[in-house]
């Protein structure tokens, strides 16, 4: 395998070789710094958060507790990044003449299979989203899963017909997310604060984790709609 690569144009130009030497040097320069596992803090921040997670957030899935709540500001930023790209794509690719016609015939198999597969996609997405604090997964994964349905439709030749409705939903859910986060300042002591009491006695059930499932549903819908609009923008094709 590698001999075949070597014979082809792997290091064809001296520039490539030069860059390879540069990055090879970087490899040996950085390597000592990334091995070893002792940290100066006796307990890493993440480990401390894990200890705090059950009592404070009520979520068995510590990753969810950290992502949605303890470092919720990161996640709000991350959702905004997706929103930003969806908007930017609408601006960049939406220019020129758009054809809303599918430019290839819908695949027969895909077109028929969708009625069978769609409900399952939706259901799985919903399940993953609302169980995000209990099992692996959550809003992002569930949102993408549910959006997979729409991607399937687009692949099958459909277009997103109610683009306005999609954008409205996207903006509505995003502002709800931000509003819930902001209202935490006054009603729960801090930005993204917990507005819903945590039920520590019911640890591990659907309603144990206070605000986390609510936020994750917002994130799920937002991510799902954003991904649909990103992909739909890519499929919108200028008439050749």
């Amino acid at each position: 395998m590698s001999s075949k690569l070597g014979k082809k144009r792997l290091f064809i130009s001296p520039m490539h070789l030069l860059w390879a030497i540069v990055f090879g040097g970087l490899f040996f320069a950085i390597l000592p710094a990334i091995s070893g596992h002792e940290s100066i803090r006796s307990e890493r921040v993440g480990e401390s958060l894990l200890v705090q997670a059950p009592a404070q957030s009520g979520a068995p899935n510590a990753v969810t507790a950290v992502v949605v709540w303890f470092r919720g500001l990161d996640t709000l930023g991350e959702v905004s990044v997706l929103f930003l790209v969806a908007a930017a794509l609408g601006m960049i690719l939406g220019r020129g003449k758009n054809s809303t016609e599918p430019e290839s015939k819908p695949n027969e198999i895909v077109a028929h299979a969708k009625t069978l597969v769609l409900p399952h996609f939706m259901l799985t997405g919903l399940y993953i989203t609302i169980h995000g604090h209990l099992t692996p997964g959550g809003g992002f994964q569930g949102g993408v899963m549910a959006a997979g349905m729409a991607l399937l439709l687009i692949l099958a030749g459909d277009r997103v017909k109610h683009l306005h409705a999609l954008h409205f939903l996207e903006g509505l859910v995003g502002s709800l997310y931000a509003l819930v986060a902001i209202s935490g300042i006054w009603f729960a002591g801090s930005f993204l604060g917990n507005l819903i009491p945590i039920k520590t006695e019911a640890f591990g059930t659907l309603f144990s984790a206070g605000i986390i499932p609510v936020l994750y549903i917002f994130i799920g819908i937002k991510v799902g709609t954003e991904i649909i609009s990103i992909y739909d923008n890519f499929q919108r094709r200028e008439e050749a």
């Binding site: 490539h16 990055f23 894990l50 059950p54 790209v85 960049i92």
Partner: protein
């Protein structure tokens, strides 16, 4: 055997990052450059996960709220979730710009980007 995943993985992820950056530095096709960039980002994600202490820890989903030791560090996981999505966003934006650039000029070659030269 001394060769555990925990010692190999940092080196491997670093190699993947630098391989990706090498691709960015040497490729001329914009789509190739974005593929290389995505490979480097995958390497970064693996680097983060390599420091959670995964050999001895358990998946950080707590069965009992009173037992909180013996799990892997969840913070790098959280950071990677963010970084994957941001990486995807950057790639999508870059490809959209590339596609539009191609519609206007008919080329994907970075060395032909000469519009802005003094």
């Amino acid at each position: 055997m001394n060769l555990s995943l925990e010692t190999v993985l940092p080196a491997f992820s670093l190699m993947l990052i630098l391989l990706g950056l090498w691709g960015v530095a040497t490729r001329k096709n914009l789509i190739k450059i974005f593929i290389s960039l995505s490979i480097a980002e995958t390497g970064v994600n693996l680097l983060y996960i390599s420091m959670t202490g995964f050999v001895h820890g358990k998946v950080p989903i707590l069965a009992d709220p009173t037992v909180t030791s013996g799990y892997v560090d969840p913070l790098p996981h959280a950071m990677i979730l963010t970084s994957i999505v941001i990486g995807t966003a950057v790639t999508a934006l870059g490809l959209a710009l590339t596609a539009r650039y191609h519609e206007r000029t008919g080329t994907l070659n970075v060395t032909k980007m000469k519009e802005l030269k003094n």
